[in-house]
Symmetry: C2
Subunit: 333 residues, 2 copies
Amino acid sequence: MLQDMPTLTDVAKLAGVSEITVSRVVRNKGPIADATRTRVLSAIEKLGYVPNRAAGSLASSGSQLMGVLLPSLSNIVFPEVLRGIHSALASTGYQPLIGVTDYDLKTEQGIVSSLLAWQPAAIIMTGFDHTDATRRMLANSRVRVAELMDIDADPIDIAVGLSHRRAGFDAGRHLISRGYRRFGYVGHDWDADRRARLRYEGLCTALAEAGLTLEAEQRFAGPSSTIAGRDTLAAMMAKNPTIDVAVFSNDDMAVGGFFYCLTAGIAVKEKLALFGFNGLDIGQSLPMPLSTVRSNRFLIGKIAVEKLLESGERPTEKQIIDTGYEIVAGATA
Amino acid sequence: MLQDMPTLTDVAKLAGVSEITVSRVVRNKGPIADATRTRVLSAIEKLGYVPNRAAGSLASSGSQLMGVLLPSLSNIVFPEVLRGIHSALASTGYQPLIGVTDYDLKTEQGIVSSLLAWQPAAIIMTGFDHTDATRRMLANSRVRVAELMDIDADPIDIAVGLSHRRAGFDAGRHLISRGYRRFGYVGHDWDADRRARLRYEGLCTALAEAGLTLEAEQRFAGPSSTIAGRDTLAAMMAKNPTIDVAVFSNDDMAVGGFFYCLTAGIAVKEKLALFGFNGLDIGQSLPMPLSTVRSNRFLIGKIAVEKLLESGERPTEKQIIDTGYEIVAGATA
DNA sequence: GAGAAATATGTTAGCGCTGTCATAATGACT
DNA sequence: AGTCATTATGACAGCGCTAACATATTTCTC
């Protein structure tokens, strides 16, 4: 679409130097005399020259692009990861090229293929589930790959996140130590969200070790949301009014649960304790701060980028970076 | 970073055709005999060929990229716009290349420059405020430009959004018609968020026309958030306990205000009415659905892409697309 | 069955940049 | 003055693809 845009050649002519010299000035690479640099820079300024990255990529077989695959933009946690990615990228000249998979592995495969077409410096994905074709493409391309959020499996290259299984387990231990015994679980569709399921499994393990078991369990057949949390807790309480703590698949669901209690006149914590996951702002701004597990999504994105940029080659050793989590006592459990 | 990746030439050799024929198959362009197509396709499959977009861009001077500039990822409305953009892009083969400006015009300028370097098919930005240099780059490049969210000014090419001034005005009329007279305004930093200011101005106009005026006004000196809304309403009520309706700069702030009322034991609507802006899910899942104005962010992103893709050239007539808004009566005002 | 029209394929010449290797100019140290 | 490094610049080829223009080949038309 660009038209008559000035090229390196134009700048070189105006500055009275060769093209490669201009290229060196632009990329800050190789030795350049101060006088020459100044001359070139002013020529660039005069012409309004903007380098053509496509040409650059082609010539150097490698782009200043980083592919980012997110499962969804509806769930606030992924924009937060993206924010971390962007913040680490900001100072580097790299640009994120994003794709959204909608939790679908075939879609992911298609997007990986189109991202690879840009010869990105690295690709950031979510989770460990990929099609064989995706794995093959990634292997052939040799680009660096980070798999985010989760560390409960074997990564392709590096993994950055936290153990959701352990987080679920610790949440269970925490609640047991606080005296809760009659557990209910309020979840959402976990075919897509493998991590919610891992937390659930961790929770069940903790309960089993204490000789307990989930007394009630209700899962909403769709993505998590405040409304789903509200309605799903309502459904569970209708069937099992005797539980003393509801563990939610995440904070969105838990905030909905809190609203349900408000409406139904159930005393939160005294009558029914609520526990979430993520540590979202909204949960902490409730009249009673939500008891939850705080994960650091921003940090996950940021660290992933930093690690990926450390080296262009995949290291021989796969790397797993645990960004940890923190039990937030809150006031609801 | 890619290495020994097969090229068009390899595919062409294996399929026993010329390069251009492979190129045509890949791009689905020009007439190709079915037999040839099949042969080429299976060669592509066999080699695991992935086209190099940088080369394609360079040769055709135009990429399958769409530049997207967002002011922030922290405010949920922008990921929603991005979702709309992505949804419209999904079927087209275009990929969004994103940049985040942090509401800073100089940052925006830098990002526009790096996006332009990829020769994107179009650029999507937010708002009408840009530096002169940004405008110049955009003008020189001749790429299509959409300015989103707002339609209260003159666009570069097309604008998609709603009149925030009118929305503020209508919200004011609505509240006045419901009998509210003692207005308070709870806002956030609007140097960055020009649209919040426009709504505020619209509100003031409505009040003035009715012979009314804001009795109280409190602005938080930072970005909007639930916590800011809670604390800022608290501050306002401490100074002006007599107002009967609080208009918030957006739903995040208003939800915080609701939480404040809960904590302080203020009867929402009877004693103090609350009114937001955006129509976020969280507001509608409150025990009392929030009274607000619903804008359609997803639609804004989607329509912008559709309009931009209609033609590669800027039309002679600037276009303004009003995606409208809707007063949501709710239960808090 | 000659010519027009449509369909299918190929040839050539770059797109704008950077890697590689060469060359020139300067200083540093014998 | 001569060797060696160091710094500064340039020539040239080519990255992988596609636009533009041929050139076959087939199908239709009267």
